[in-house]
Symmetry: C2
């Protein structure tokens, strides 16, 4: 009757999920570039599994919008146009604003505490200068707000939208000139939510996304030049 085994259960992960994660990461980090074809046999050999898990992973990527499929031609990594990006951000603006407002009404004391901590964690993360750490801290902060709505569908929906932006997010978080602004905006959002100031929280969230949009679009235009 020992229970100190930590019962790892050695979490079994289907190969399709392993492949999915592998490919997703490769796309998000730009290792595989937009427009590039994903060929099953090729990938199967490279990763060392059969075509079946590859196919299933590619289909998942399609549903996530990271690749587009052409019948009998296979999959290519999705180009995300500026219009596409604006569209994603427009939907997120509506949802993030709403989340901030809802969070004011529904957030628990524990979540308030967690949010406070996440906010300072983010500030610490910025100090490290490590992009990955900063990005994670940022996601953590926002996840608490979204989670505080208690709406799981909202979490799923926003995650799906976020997926579409990760490729750019990373670039934009790398830009150190944005960091102070990010900290300020997070604090404003934190304050409003702690005070349960619905209007203020909504506005802070909207502004946060607006600035993000400006920043990302600027990045894209720089890349293009």
């Amino acid at each position: 009757m020992q229970d100190h085994f930590e019962l790892n259960m050695d979490e079994y992960l289907p190969l399709r999920d392993v492949v999915f994660k592998t490919l997703r990461k490769a796309i998000l980090t730009g290792e595989i570039k937009p427009g590039e074809r994903l060929m099953e046999i090729h990938l199967a050999k490279k990763i060392g599994v059969s075509r079946t898990p590859i196919r299933e992973a590619i289909h998942k990527l399609e549903q996530e919008g990271l690749v587009t499929m052409i019948p009998r031609r296979g999959a290519i990594v999705a180009e995300i146009s500026e219009k596409g990006l604006r569209d994603v951000l427009e939907v997120r603006r509506a949802l993030d604003t709403f989340c901030a407002e809802l969070a004011c009404e529904r957030i628990s004391e524990e979540e308030k505490e967690a949010l406070r901590r996440a906010c300072t964690d983010f500030e610490e993360a910025v100090k490290t200068g490590d992009t990955t750490v900063i990005a994670k801290a940022d996601v953590a902060f926002h996840d608490i707000i979204i989670g505080a709505t208690g709406n799981e569908r909202m979490v799923m929906t926003i995650n799906n939208l976020a997926e579409q932006m990760y490729r750019y997010r990373f670039e934009y978080i790398k830009d150190a000139s944005q960091h102070e602004r990010l900290i300020k905006e997070h604090r404003a959002l934190l304050d409003a939510i702690l005070k349960e100031n619905v209007i203020g929280a909504g506005e802070a969230a909207r502004e946060h996304i607006d600035n993000q949009e400006k920043s990302i679009l600027m990045q894209i235009h720089l890349d293009e030049k």
Copy 2:
């Protein structure tokens, strides 16, 4: 140089998509009930294809949230809880409101005309009393508004959410006592958008969803009794 061939191209549809549509319909109409298992070999025999397209279709259903998968156990038709339904409607409330507001600012003259027509079409549809016709007309009306935002991601996101509700939607549109109210609300929404009255359109959309929620939840509670 004839171009009157109509070149049907006999649109090829992969079996996985055929199976997907078949299963989806079966789930949405209640032919397969929540909690029921979807077993690959059984379905393959029943539909008359191999397991491969069945698997792929089931994975698509999972992504759409219509089934939930348990590793090494397969898929079961997703139970949608009352909480889950409320969550979906809460997200839709935020998005539909936003869409109505955006539509005011972006709708073209052609779309205005289409919307007017869709509104009267809906009224005609109600007169027929045919649930399927009514449901289609209702979808058409709302699709124009969502489409008028010019935001494709918005269309995708809302479609995804709508998917989750179709099972209940049908029940609630069957309820004839709601029809007059629906017509009134559609007219209010139409008027506000035609006048490009942003506030009014948002309110009308919100109220429309609110009433829908009340009605559907009532239905569910009736079913449970």
